[in-house]
């Protein structure tokens, strides 16, 4: 069929050329999709080939050094784990509480709507702005200095919108029959939430939390802005201690022109990616285990 069909389809071109164009288009589509995959593959290949040789027990347990061969990731690794744990400790109670309010208690009023819009916008703010907030409020304003606490507080603010949004999703997914059954048995609203709804929503909450922590582990800009140092040859010993984290250590090594430091940076990246992998795998396993039980 070559002639006009209702104006939306080409009227003056032959079927063969339309088929040809369709074929071309399909190829473009395939190529574009492959572009993303090829880019990822190239990136991973580049990092692995640069850094895999440098990974060793010595690398994992040494502090940073001026001599590239002696430098290690230990202080940054401990720093990252410490900061992330503290970030979770701050963000989780606040985020879950806020989400519970919005989902279970919140009215449809103006204030609730405003809070919702606000949280959605916060999720789109560039991370460096949170760094400026942390600098002005925590480091200078509250006098926390360039400490683990200031870093964790800043990161907590950064992940809070995501935690709230994902917890709300998880709460929403809990069937109302569960709640109503609980009320029918005489439980109060909070009893219902604490004993029925939250445990049921837990897998989803956990997944959302892990996702946001994954993002926080890789964040460099906010922590650089609040003043995390790039040469810290010791592990932090308390929440007031100066610190460094994996992405900042990688950044510091990338900034050095010697090729041997580039290798260290690549190895550091592999440690960072490994940590992310473990985190996400734990999340998926936990979520599956819990989902089976609460079925």
């Amino acid at each position: 069929m070559t002639t006009a069909v209702a104006g939306t389809v080409g009227t003056t071109v032959t079927t063969r050329s339309r088929t040809a164009r369709d074929w071309l288009f399909t190829s473009f589509g395939l190529l574009s999709t492959l572009l993303g995959l090829v880019a990822l593959g190239t990136l991973l290949y580049d990092v692995v080939s640069d850094g895999a040789g440098r990974l060793s027990w010595q690398f994992m347990t040494s502090y940073t050094s001026r001599r590239a061969a002696d430098a290690g990731i230990y202080a940054a690794l401990v720093g990252s784990l410490f900061v992330i744990t503290l970030t979770a400790a701050i963000a989780v109670p606040l985020g879950v509480a806020a989400a519970v309010h919005l989902e279970e208690y919140g009215g449809r009023g103006r204030l609730s709507r405003l809070i919702e819009i606000n949280i959605a916008n916060l999720a789109g703010v560039p991370s460096i702005i949170y760094g400026l907030l942390g600098l002005g409020l925590f480091v200078r304003g509250m006098g926390m200095g360039q400490s683990v606490l200031a870093g964790a507080s800043t990161l907590a603010l950064l992940v809070l919108p995501v935690v709230i949004l994902s917890t709300r999703e998880a709460l929403r997914a809990v069937p109302s029959s569960l709640r109503e059954g609980s009320y029918a048995l005489g439980a109060t609203k909070w009893q219902t939430i604490w004993n029925q709804v939250l445990p049921a929503a837990f897998p989803g909450i956990l997944t959302g939390l892990i996702l946001s922590l994954s993002r926080a582990i890789g964040e460099t800009a906010p922590l650089v802005t609040i003043g995390a140092l790039t040469y810290v040859p010791f592990a932090p010993d308390g929440i007031w201690s100066p610190f460094t984290v994996l992405p900042i250590q990688v950044f510091a090594w990338v900034s050095r022109p010697q090729a041997s430091f580039a290798e260290n940076a690549a190895a550091g990246i592999l440690v960072l990616l490994g940590l992310l992998l473990i985190l996400n795998a734990t999340a998926i396993t936990l979520r599956d285990r819990l989902q089976r039980h609460t079925r």
């Binding site: 001026r66 445990p199 100066p242 900034s255 022109p257 010697q258």
Partner: protein, 342 residues
């Protein structure tokens, strides 16, 4: 519900309580009373490689001690130092009268400790075949404030050079290297054009020049030594035959015998007197002035003479405060030895 969810849910409540419990004390208290506190050093990116090297060996020899080294630039380092925030200030130029006043105002007494010589190196990319040497006058024409936006091509400096863009890399304004370079070349401290890649971190300058055929940059000699495969030195002709005729390239010899001018300079650390009451700080400085000397050569700078080190150590043990350069032009012909005896 199962026990995992139960435990995790309880963790939701317990975790913040634990974090709160760790909240003991304010920022001024850290660690147990018996453990040594962190020794904080900050300042020049030129001096930082030496301080880092000494810090590393010191921590290795004295487990339990901790030293952090920042690179905010000489000016930035002094600002922190005079706000009583750091113990040691790394400096690639002497303390200025303004900084002396700031420290006096906050009551921070310090000991000025020269640790090495540096020959400020002017570098270009190895593929740059034309700029093997430059005169001080040419450098001035290139870097003075009036050059901003106007001197942008190589053939504007010397007519027989190629007609290509110059990409400039140099020290940031908080850097002692910046102060020293502008004073020595342009004639007035901090007087420089602003349209170049400026960084307090000399590694960035190395990367910039090493990656760009049309680039020119300057930094402390150690950064050239550590990266000589990526860079090419430019010999400097100061037009003064009395200290070496013709263009002279920086090297340990030319810096030591005074022929590499005007870009040879001493580099310093400044130690806070109050901090020296802590045994770990005092032993760190002692370590710096004894076991640190071989490290200076390793990093790429030029050690002082043995006589000069003896005098510096004497100055330190006597806790002589104040600066040797007060009221005197730091480019005057007095050598360090002469100043130390005054």
């Amino acid at each position: 519900m199962n026990s995992i969810a139960c435990t995790l849910r309880t963790g939701l409540v317990v975790l913040p309580l634990l974090a709160g419990a760790a909240c003991g004390g304010g920022p001024s208290e850290s660690g147990a009373p018996a453990a040594p506190r962190v020794i904080t050093a900050d300042g020049s990116s030129t001096v930082a490689p030496v301080t880092e090297a000494v810090a590393e060996e010191f921590q290795r020899a004295n487990p339990g001690t901790r030293v952090t080294v920042g690179t905010s630039g000489t000016g930035g380092g002094f600002q922190k130092f005079c706000r009583d925030e750091t113990d040691i200030s790394d400096a690639s130029r002497p303390i200025t009268p303004g900084e002396v006043a700031a420290c006096a105002k906050t009551g921070v007494a310090y000991i000025e400790i020269p640790v090495a010589y540096d020959g400020l190196a002017v570098v270009v990319n190895p593929k740059n075949t034309w700029a093997a040497s430059m005169t001080v006058a040419e450098l001035k024409a290139l870097w003075e404030p009036a050059a901003q936006g106007k001197i942008t091509r190589w053939n504007q400096i010397r007519a027989n050079w190629p007609d290509r863009e110059i990409h400039l890399f140099g020290a940031g304004v908080d850097s002692g290297t910046f102060d020293y370079f502008t004073e020595a070349i342009v004639g007035k401290t901090k007087a420089s054009r602003g349209d170049y890649t400026s960084s307090e971190d000399d590694n960035v300058i190395v990367q910039g020049v090493g990656g760009d055929e049309n680039a020119l940059g300057y930094f402390g000699f150690a950064y050239y030594e550590q990266n000589h495969d990526k860079l090419k030195l430019v010999a400097i002709d100061d037009g003064d035959d009395k200290n070496g005729a013709g263009p002279i390239a920086p090297s340990p010899e030319s810096v030591k015998n005074g022929t590499y001018r005007p870009l040879s300079r001493p580099i310093f650390i400044y130690a806070k007197v109050k901090a020296l009451e802590r045994p770990e700080v005092k032993s760190f400085i002692d370590f710096y002035l004894n076991q640190g000397i071989p490290l200076i050569r390793e990093v790429g700078y030029i050690p002082l003479t043995d006589r000069e080190y003896t005098m510096v150590r004497g100055r330190f043990s006597a806790r002589t405060t104040g600066s040797m350069f007060e009221g005197v032009d730091s480019h005057s012909q007095l050598t360090l030895e002469q100043r130390l005896t005054r």
